[in-house]
């Protein structure tokens, strides 16, 4: 098979060009390219959000509502009061976990589109184990539950991971299928074996020792808020994931495989086991998202306890350019959108679904990065004429 991606001419800086004959010019060119790359990388998320808000406004106008009122209400609902800020933190918490889950996957070249299913399984483990360990002291119970949820999420990702590593089955389809299977499984369990027998399909309430306390419980001077300790755990986790990607061989190998599995293999990295590890890590992070919802918000598991956090995690990771620290910011943004959506609906009569539309546009724009790079290249070209040595 001839490699058609290989094309003879347009490799910049290729041997024999006049530029190459001068080491300095070559270095300058390399530096220039590196800088352009960085500008594009940094600018894309901001430009994407701006365009998405603009398109969202147009939709609001088209449906005969006032976009300024809509976004003002949205902002009010997200940041207008201590309670509102609490809601934003609350809603960004699971998104940080799913965002990290997707980001780790993307870094390893895997698209864990089925994070939602792993989230359900994580929630399931939290709801089940949470009741079992409720008599233990809080400081022991909570880590045990979180660990169980992470393992459960990882387990749900394991079969797709194995299929990807062994036979190359597309994880986009398999994790998605496992997501549906997982949701039906939870649906069965909460209405059957794990039901609290109330007639409503839900599990029993977790004992207090299994719960993540709310901020106003920890810091009594705060107004009552639903935001809980899970938010802090999420931030800690983001920093840990960042460090793991950068400072461990595990992260090094995941990134290497994500960029170039062939070179990784030649460099002694087992591609298959890296894929399995990475998808399971992704699943574990998604599982934690389910756990914090159960342990921090509802205290129990039921059918519809997730508001599509697994899918929003895709947008979070992409907007953050798969940078774990960026995930914190992106999750806060989407958390704010989600928190403000209710107020927007109430005060400006604009459907909450607008948030999903904005999300989709952001994903779309981040994917079509060329729009931004095109704009950046254009402005750069105007500034400087390409260096052509004599």
């Amino acid at each position: 098979m001839p490699d058609h991606t290989h094309f003879d001419a347009p490799k910049p800086g290729r041997a024999g060009s006049p530029v190459e004959s001068s080491t300095d010019a070559e270095k300058r060119f390399t530096l220039e390219k590196q800088r352009t790359d960085r500008v594009i990388r940094l600018a894309t998320p901001f430009v994407s959000v701006a365009i998405a808000v603009l398109v969202g406004s147009l939709l609001v106008v088209a449906s005969g509502r006032d976009p300024v009122a809509a976004f003002a209400a949205l902002f009010q609902g997200a940041f207008g009061s201590q309670r509102a800020i609490g809601e934003t933190l609350l809603r960004s918490t699971p998104l940080m976990f799913t965002g990290l889950a997707l980001a780790w996957g993307f870094r390893a070249g895997l698209f864990n589109i089925g994070a939602e299913g792993q989230l359900f399984l994580g929630g399931l483990a939290a709801a089940y184990v949470g009741i079992q360990v409720g008599s233990l002291p809080w400081a022991i119970a909570v880590p045990v539950i979180l660990l169980a949820a992470a393992l459960s999420g990882a387990a749900w990702a394991f079969i797709p991971a194995l299929m990807k590593a062994r036979i190359g089955a597309n994880e986009v389809i398999t994790t998605m299928m496992f997501s549906y299977i997982g949701r039906y499984l939870v649906s069965y369990l909460v209405s059957g074996p794990l039901s609290d027998k109330s007639g409503i399909p839900q599990t029993a309430q977790l004992p207090p020792n299994s719960m993540l306390p709310r901020f106003n419980t920890i810091l009594p001077f705060l107004h009552p808020t639903r935001a809980h300790l899970g938010f802090v755990i999420a931030i800690v986790m983001a920093v840990m994931v960042w460090a793991a990607l950068k400072y461990t061989t595990l992260g090094f190998e995941a990134r290497a495989v994500g960029y170039n599995p062939f070179a990784s293999e030649a460099g002694g990295i087992s591609v298959g086991s890296t894929i399995i590890k990475s998808l399971c890590i992704s699943g574990a992070l998604a599982g934690l998202a389910g756990a914090v919802e159960v342990m921090g918000v509802y205290g129990r598991l039921f059918d519809s306890f997730s508001n599509g956090f697994g899918f929003t995690g895709i947008a979070v990771a992409l907007l953050a350019k798969n940078n774990p620290i960026g995930v914190i910011a992106a999750a806060l943004l989407f958390g704010a959108l989600s928190a403000g959506a209710g107020t927007m609906q109430l005060e400006a009569d604009v459907s909450q679904q607008l948030v999903a539309v904005i999300q989709a546009i952001i994903i779309f724009l981040v994917a079509a990065e060329t729009i931004v790079s095109w704009a950046v290249e254009r402005t750069r070209k105007r500034k400087a004429v390409a260096p052509v040595a004599g």
């Binding site: 490799k11 800086g13 530029v19 270095k27 060119f29 061989t249 960029y259 070179a263 030649a266």
Partner: protein
């Protein structure tokens, strides 16, 4: 070169210069980001002549011809066909104007048949359905007319490279090409296939076509062209005829300075055996046996070269030794340690370094910076890592050392590998693999696509390893490289070693003979493995 070719290059009537050229490129300039690929280049091509476009990698030859074929748009200059300005916006117009091009990487759809490939884009059709009967008949007629025999119903993926090239030429002829551009047409062919190709080219030229051959091979230029145009660094530096020059003169023109075509090296003093391969059988991706019982030894302080036409099992041997492919049977030993079923991590740890044939695919993680690329392969060990935690300061230190040792030209060690030039990327791979201080170096196509300066550098490094008493297995399609570096040369054909020579005791022609299966008939008939002593008896 053989007598045939010399005869073919005989006294041909020189093209009449006052005739209108069939293709004129006037003042073509083409820029890529950071590179001026073609700088005000003008070339005329007349019907009935073979023009050789000679130059190093990156001299701008292919770019120029891609402009003529409409694949690239020039930043300046114009193209004339039969003296009339031609607005070539894409291959579609170029084809309509009678320009055909056979690319270095074939533009064939491998899953389609020969006929389908030939007619693609100009299918004879009735109401939208492809008229395969007519297509097949047309293809057959063309191949008979020019002696380009090929099965019209074969799938392209089942054809040899030489056959695929014929399909490419038939494609151009089917489109009634009057100018045929061949981009590095001989790089994948055996010497015999090269002669066949040039016979075909002669026939085409005799029937009135103009042929442009892009190449960097001096001997071929001397043997087969009517006119030679030399390019260097994006500029036209000279035009001559084979009768008016010789290879040394051409080389000087091409590179811009005197070139030493020979590598100086001391006689080999082989020591203990480093690598020992016995009766190795390896399957390829299609589960066919690509390596059929190979045995070889590499000693300390010795360069063993494997010569052969691409696709005769080279990549499978290399992959089997470094652990990228599981051998079907046989054994591989590194000194006193068996590494037959070792994975790449094990072979690296055992002391095998590997310069892969495709640096961008196998050699580098292009998105990684230089630091991470240099650590790759040793990233689990000290000093890079301790119990799974990376020591980035140590990584940076090593990277800095390697960058200066191996003269990698980069503004800093945090630059991504993708942003380096091809030559520097290869230096990066060499720096990592040699920096590991291996027992055995496996160098596959180590100078592919590099300019003369970088080639010399890589050759010096390989010879340096030999001085340091390492064992080196060199796999290359470039006979010149194999001949000038190797202390011992093994010729690979059909997955077997069919001949073995001491370095310096053999010519390109002799190698070419064995590379194409010549003299290997009795060996091929021998069932089972071919031990090295048996091949040794086969000296020419």
């Amino acid at each position: 070169m053989s007598d045939d070719s010399a005869m073919l290059a005989g006294n041909r009537p020189a093209p009449v210069s006052n005739r209108t050229p069939v293709l004129s490129l006037e003042h073509i300039t083409k820029r890529f980001p950071g590179v001026l690929a073609d700088d005000d280049v003008s070339v005329d091509v007349h019907a009935g002549e073979v023009v050789a476009l000679l130059g190093e990698n990156g001299a701008g030859k292919s770019t120029l011809m891609n402009v003529a074929y409409g694949l690239l748009e020039a930043d300046g200059g114009r193209i004339l066909i039969d003296g009339r300005p031609a607005g070539i916006k894409g291959p579609r117009q170029a084809i309509a104007l009678g320009i055909g091009m056979v690319h270095q990487h074939f533009m064939l759809v491998e899953t389609l048949t020969v006929t389908e490939n030939i007619v693609l884009g100009r299918e004879p059709a009735r109401f939208g359905t492809v008229d395969m009967a007519t297509a097949r008949a047309d293809a057959r007629a063309l191949s008979e007319r020019y002696g380009l025999t090929v099965d019209p119903d074969a799938r392209v993926q089942d054809l040899s490279v030489g056959m695929q090239q014929r399909v490419e030429i038939l494609k151009a002829l089917y489109r009634k090409a009057r100018v045929l551009i061949l981009d590095e047409p001989t790089s994948v062919l055996t010497p015999q296939e090269v002669n066949e190709l040039f016979e075909i080219v002669r026939q085409l030229v005799d029937s009135g076509l103009a042929v442009v051959i892009i190449t960097h091979k001096l001997d071929e230029v001397m043997a087969f062209s009517d006119r030679i145009i030399v390019m260097r660094a994006g500029r036209l530096v000279g035009e001559t005829r084979p009768a008016d020059t010789d290879e040394t003169g051409l080389a000087k023109m091409m590179v811009g300075r005197d070139v030493v075509l020979r590598v100086d090296k001391t006689p080999s003093v082989p020591g203990e055996i480093v690598l020992s391969v016995r009766d190795l059988h390896v399957l390829d991706d299609r589960r066919l046996e690509a390596v059929r019982g190979i045995s070889l030894d590499v000693h300390e302080g010795e360069i063993v070269g494997i010569a052969g036409v691409d696709g005769n099992g080279q990549s499978q041997i290399v992959e089997a030794i470094v652990g990228l492919r599981r051998p079907a049977s046989g054994t591989v030993w590194l000194r006193d340690r068996e590494i037959t079923h070792a994975n790449p991590a094990d072979t690296i740890a055992a002391g095998v370094s590997h310069i892969p044939a495709d640096r961008q695919r196998r050699g580098l993680v292009l998105e990684f910076d230089l630091i991470e690329n240099i650590a790759l392969g040793d990233h689990r060990k000290l000093p890079y890592a301790n119990h799974g935690v990376l020591d980035r300061d140590a990584m940076r230190e090593v990277a800095r050392t390697r960058i200066s040792e191996f003269d990698i030209r980069t503004p800093s060690e945090t630059v991504r590998a993708a942003n380096l030039s091809g030559g520097n990327q290869q230096k990066l791979v060499v720096a990592r693999e040699l920096g590991r201080d291996p027992e055995l170096l496996i160098a596959a196509q180590p100078t592919r696509g590099l300019d003369v300066g970088a080639i010399e550098f890589v050759h010096r490094q390989i010879l340096g390893e030999r001085e340091r008493r390492k064992g080196i297995l060199l796999v290359s399609m470039e006979l010149e490289e194999v001949l000038s570096l190797s202390d011992r040369i093994l010729v690979l054909y059909g997955g077997r070693i069919v001949a073995e020579f001491e370095g310096g005791s053999v010519t390109e022609e002799q190698l070419g003979y064995y590379m194409t299966g010549g003299g290997g008939s009795e060996l091929a008939a021998t069932p089972g493995p071919t031990p090295p002593d048996q091949t040794r008896g086969d000296h020419a």
